[in-house]
Amino acid sequence: MSAEKGNVKILVFACRWCGLIGADGAGRKRIELPASYRVIPVDCAGYVEPDAVIRAFASGATGVAVLGCHVGGCRFNDANHPALKRLELLKTLLDTTGIGGKRLLLGFGTAHESHQYAEMIVDFHREVEGLPSMASWLHIAE
């Protein structure tokens, strides 16, 4: 079974109060980053329903990152607490099916500065690269 190397596509759901600021900063500082990721800005990590993460995997994403604020520092009261709980539960499901919880990166309060964001994306890219290919799940006809 081949690894995901060369086929990495990362989808980042970045909360506009933390993750997105980090992403913006990384771009402004011209930090060199893998070209494999795309960012979807969301107002809060609480908006990211696990179904959206599943849909991203179904559409060919090899890794999904959800970046939000500190667990105690959500701009919308405590909206990111249930988000964190839900997504951790989703990780369990991904682990069970062998897709691997490692494909889902949860970063709450860890990416609001540009260098942190860059480091995170680079590390995540490297981690996803080594995972076994999801082809047996995606290409049913074969």
Partner: protein
């Protein structure tokens, strides 16, 4: 046990505690079908086997009937938990629904891999000890091994799906209208076999904190995909992290709906930051 259930049903109908009793009826030519018994005399043809989950049916009946109409349901352990889950979601008015609970026997518990083969409100029979589903060979085969191995195993199983929606329709708790599994945004329609990741994982995840492990999805599946096994690890995670089990307490909603102050993880501090790759910021 059957006599006790019949006795209790008759009592309820005689005392007018409920207007109907929902249970299985052995009709002409020994055909067994769900039936709403409305007179005590009719209750003589009530039977308990085979396993049949009434929670969703009870919801549909109560929606059809006027507000004053009350229903009693003959339930097993799993069925009672499903009723509780529907009550939590405001699908059933608990005031209008009575339950007549009876315990399953040991064989049934082993077949279903049930950890609680008895209802909380037990009216007939005596409770037997459940089995631990995670210790069973049939389940272990799908939960062990490394990731690549498990991915192959599950892909081989799910590939056989004929997308009959039996798992969704038979589930006593799947009641959403509209359903995401019928929506092009989430799952492409008219494609067989189903899009594996989105169809199966969305279905499984929607039931993550609701699944009462009745096994109806698995029994309904015409190609025999071990669907309940998908839910077991999530049930276990909720039990371990939050000491929560679906269907036990009508007053406690799923912990994933609340923040860490209201539903903390016992023994674990609230994390200031989370990095699933395990690095410090």
């Amino acid at each position: 046990m059957l006599d006790q259930v019949k006795q209790k049903s008759k009592e309820i109908l005689e005392k007018k505690e409920a207007d109907g009793v929902l249970g299985l009826k052995k009709g002409p030519w020994d055909v067994i079908h769900p039936h709403v018994f409305t007179t005590p005399a009719e209750v003589d043809s009530l039977v308990l086997e085979p396993k049949w989950l009434f929670a969703k049916m009870a919801r549909a009946i109560l929606r059809e009937k006027p507000q004053a109409w009350r229903l009693a349901v003959v339930v097993r352990g799993c069925d009672e938990r499903a009723v509780v889950e529907l009550v939590k979601r405001n699908q059933i008015d608990r005031e209008r629904l009575l339950t007549i609970g009876y315990a399953c026997d040991g064989n049934q518990a082993k077949t279903c891999l049930c950890s609680r083969p008895y209802p909380r409100k037990l009216d007939a029979g005596s409770a037997v000890e459940g089995v631990d589903p995670l210790a069973d060979e049939r389940v272990k085969a799908y939960l062990e091994g490394d990731a690549a191995e498990r991915m192959e195993k599950w892909a081989a199983q799910l590939k056989r799906c004929i997308k009959c929606y039996g798992c969704r329709n038979s589930c006593p708790i799947c009641v959403c209208v509209p359903c995401k599994l019928e929506d092009d945004v989430w799952v492409e329609r008219g494609v067989v076999p189903a899009e594996m990741v989105s169809f199966h994982l969305i279905r499984a995840f929607h039931l993550s904190d609701t699944c009462v492990a009745c096994g109806a999805c698995q029994e309904a599946c015409p190609v025999g995909i071990p669907l309940m096994t998908l839910q077991l690890s999530m049930r276990e995670a909720l039990r371990k992290d939050y000491n929560y089990e679906a269907g036990l307490d009508a007053n406690r909603k799923s912990p994933v709906l609340f923040d860490f102050e209201k539903e903390p993880r016992p023994g674990q501090a609230v994390p200031d930051w989370v990095d699933s790759m395990g690095k410090k910021p």
